[in-house]
Symmetry: C2
Subunit: 155 residues, 2 copies
């Protein structure tokens, strides 16, 4: 076992910076969103995912895959959102094992009401602080990281 390649000072700045940003940004965006619309980020993501699909409904497993959530997590969360009237479970006609999550009117209204404020919050705390070059760098770099991780199931 050879001496590990520790991070250089520059690499360490990037790594620690990324971690701090992640923590603070999440917290702030979540707070803003909750205060303005009573939704958690998780709620917002579910509603947002559904709102973008044809018919505003989707198979549970498809939604879970798209969101990178476990089926269990999504199932629990959908149960809670269903109790709040934001979504509705429907039977799946093609596959009797499956179920479909559909946006209710209340859910649609909630996402429509929340979106402008949320985008503004994302701009205020992140996007508008970045140069055009940084925007593109962030997109490129995260794309590369995500692609590699998506290909590698376990290592």
């Amino acid at each position: 076992m050879s001496e590990p390649r520790w991070l250089t000072e520059r690499e360490d700045r990037a790594w620690r910076g990324y971690r701090r940003m992640r923590t603070l940004l999440d917290l702030q965006l979540g707070r803003d969103l909750m205060r303005e619309s009573g939704l958690s980020e998780a709620d917002y993501d579910v509603l947002s995912g559904l709102s973008e699909t044809e018919g505003r409904k989707m198979r549970l497993s498809e939604l879970a895959t798209q969101m990178l959530w476990s089926k269990s997590r999504l199932s629990h969360h959908i149960t809670r959102m269903e109790q709040r009237g934001l979504v509705r479970r429907e039977e799946c006609s093609e596959d009797a094992r499956g179920s479909v999550v559909a946006l209710t009117d209340a859910g649609w209204n909630a996402i429509v009401a929340a979106a402008p404020g949320h985008v503004a919050s994302v701009r205020r705390h992140l996007i508008d602080l970045l140069t055009a070059g940084e925007i593109d760098a962030l997109a490129a770099l995260s794309r590369r990281v995500v692609d590699r991780l998506s290909g590698v199931r376990a290592e």
Copy 2:
């Protein structure tokens, strides 16, 4: 209320990319770490923070501030780590309200054993996939975001 400034396509790529990266990277790093050393990322961060201080001990509130954790969260987590023998609570001589968290030998050994693998994991899944320019861009951009959020307590 005017039409909100939605994200442009480039901005959206950066934002969604960032979010996916965050989710996948966390998951993978956490898995690697847990498999190789039996520590969660939270455990690692606590041990790492303590290991870098003079005397390997720190006030609870100081550690919480540095880690950007709530005192409550840290208190709960320290209780759990204490039960596993990784840290120890000590009374604070200067302030009888306070307490000090100290690294035990087991905790020190755990972080020393875990660090090389964790750094390798961070390199493999993030740092080594980035160009030098991207490293610096990430450091600069996260610095800016963090600074702004640290100044703004509530908005």
